[in-house]
């Protein structure tokens, strides 16, 4: 068994009086695909937001590779190697497809505004590697041909792949995918499953929030089931499929 890379300890998030996450404990092992499922309002997106620093947890902690990341700002967490996609694709619409992916290289490069303005040699060399890496990751997600299209002009399914490509370009340790299959057809979903497999094979730990059970059961090594902000079940797909609590939540109580 690989070691735990991301660990949540008693993570709690309250909005006013509403408890969105209730003292959640779980760990994600390196190099696996962990799926987070649960009914609407179970706290899945809140969990992602807490993990990526969009909001800080009310109490509890999250550690990446043993160092605490909860409470850090989004961009600091990104720098430590967590990349993500969004439930509604957040592509940078004023740029080309390639430029979107090039933004992904932000944490791996360092030229500031002054170096850029003066177009120093260092900056130009860096720019070339950013471009090369961008094209490489575009090919990984299969969008190489669209590199110079305006990002706003590509269809929604392609935008999701673009977001994944952009996240990959950051060469993250952990990749969070927030409902990547939403709005995709069966064929596209199948391709997405394959892509997620490739990403895991690249050594990246994947956490995926998803409603599409077929996809989840297909790709997940472990599944975390949330209900009302608490952990309902945690284990392998087989274990989850057999869990009476999960069946009760998903299918209603059998009398």
């Amino acid at each position: 068994m690989a070691e735990t890379i991301l660990e949540a300890v008693r993570v709690r998030k309250e909005f006013g009086g509403l408890v969105a996450l209730c003292d959640l404990d779980f760990g994600v092992r390196r190099g696996t695909v962990t799926a987070v499922i649960g009914p609407n309002g179970a706290g899945k997106t809140t969990l992602i937001n807490v993990m990526t620093g969009v909001t800080a947890p009310t109490s509890g902690s999250i550690a990446l590779n043993g160092s605490i990341i909860s409470g850090l700002k989004s961009h600091e967490i990104a720098r430590l190697g967590i990349a993500r996609t969004f439930q509604t694709a957040q592509i940078f619409s004023a740029m080309t497809v390639l430029e979107n992916v090039m933004v992904g290289r932000h944490t791996k490069t360092g030229c500031g505004m002054i170096a850029s303005a003066l177009s120093l040699g260092r900056m130009r060399r860096e720019e070339r590697t950013i471009c090369d890496k961008g094209l490489y990751y575009l090919d990984v997600v299969g969008l190489g041909a669209l590199a110079h299209q305006p990002a706003a002009s590509v269809p929604i399914g392609t935008q999701r792949l673009l977001e994944i490509g952009r996240a990959l370009a950051a060469e993250p340790v952990v990749l969070l995918l927030d409902e990547p299959a939403a709005g995709l057809n069966t064929q596209e979903t199948r391709a997405l499953g394959k892509l997620i497999g490739t990403i895991r094979d690249m050594g990246i730990t994947v956490i995926i929030v998803e409603h599409d059970m077929e996809l989840v059961m297909d790709i997940a090594d472990e599944i975390l089931v949330l209900n009302f902000g608490s952990r309902l079940a945690w284990g392998t797909p087989e274990h989850i499929q057999a869990s009476p609590e999960v069946i009760e939540v998903y299918l209603g109580k059998e009398d």
Binding site: A83, F92, A94, S116
Partner: protein, 320 residues
């Protein structure tokens, strides 16, 4: 690729270089000088608004700070121009930094009002500090710009100075836009949360671009002060901030050429309309209205759409 990217600027530079040779009239040169000055100010504001998506209704304040800083230093304290310029840039950048840190947490209309308030406060202070700035009566006797013994003391020389500064800044700005920082900047416009998720320090970047755009405005102000040799708070009131913003929207947001086009239009239009006397205001307003209504992406957007149309037609004909 590099040559292709810089071709419009090179053509523009050549045109700008030969234009005054056939146009010796100080009146026309004066108009072109002002267009250049406003273009520099809009370039900074465009970086902030068109690219980073942050609004500012207080840029007139930085324009005034620049103009007053070098104006006071050279006219009252006999400081040479270059050290005065450096001082002006540092002062403006420092003030913009403080304002930026405080205000840029705000968004949308709230940011607009906060920057507006800052601009007005600076305006009121310039008016009230009569002993220092000359108050509403203004600061007269600002000397011509002198660099290394060469004095830019005629409209002709000043024209070249302004447009040289413009082209230099244009190159620097274009470099920024097409770089790592520039891409980060453009991310802010679409989605701050996604930008942060990509590791971009949104707060820091916003403050950086705010300071940078303030420095552009200050440079424009410096040039204005030394070109007119007189500055009063009135030339940098709220309406001037609004005018800069209008120039960008009319010319085309998020396009460096848009600012120039807007500056040219809004400077030339009143000159051309002045024959209409009291009707000028209403005609000016109507033209503005029509442009914004029918060219929502500004003149630049309109030109691009037209260009694309022509290219498509030509291609279609070529095929057919």
């Amino acid at each position: 690729m590099a040559i292709k990217r810089h071709l419009p600027l090179m053509l523009f530079g050549c045109a700008a270089a030969v234009l005054p040779l056939g146009l010796k009239d100080p009146y026309y040169l004066g108009i072109l000088v002002f267009i250049g000055i406003f273009s520099i100010a809009t370039m900074g504001l465009n970086l902030l608004m068109g690219y980073a998506g942050q609004i500012s209704l207080g840029h007139a304040a930085f324009y005034a700070l620049g103009a007053y800083a070098t104006g006071l230093l050279t006219a009252k304290y006999n400081v040479h121009f270059l050290p005065a310029l450096i001082a002006a840039i540092i002062v403006t950048a420092a003030i913009a930094y403080v304002i930026g840190i405080a205000c840029l947490r705000l968004k949308g209309h709230y940011l607009a009002v906060a920057t507006l308030a800052v601009g007005e406060i600076v305006f009121i202070c310039l008016n009230a500090a009569v002993g220092f700035t000359g108050g509403p009566s203004g600061l007269a006797g600002i000397p011509s710009i002198e660099i290394g013994g060469f004095s830019f003391d005629s409209d002709f020389k000043f024209y070249y100075l302004v447009w040289a500064v413009f082209i230099l800044l244009f190159i620097l700005t274009a470099n920024i836009i097409n770089s790592r920082s520039g891409r980060a900047l453009r991310c802010l416009h679409s989605s701050e949360i996604a930008a942060a998720a990509m590791g971009i320090n949104v707060t820091k970047l916003k403050v950086q671009v705010f300071v940078l755009s303030a420095v552009y405005a200050a440079l424009a102000g410096v040039l204005y002060g030394h070109s007119v040799t007189f500055i009063s708070p009135q030339s940098s009131d709220l309406m001037f901030s609004v005018k800069l913003l209008t120039m960008i929207v009319v010319g085309g947001m998020g396009n460096l050429w848009g600012g120039v086009l807007g500056a040219a239009l809004l400077t030339l239009l009143p000159e051309m309309l002045s024959a209409f006397h009291d009707y000028e205001l209403i005609i000016y307003g109507s033209i503005l209205l029509v442009i914004v209504m029918f060219l929502p992406d500004g003149l630049m957007g309109g030109f691009e759409a037209l260009g694309n149309k022509i290219i498509r037609k030509v291609r279609a004909r070529g095929r057919g």
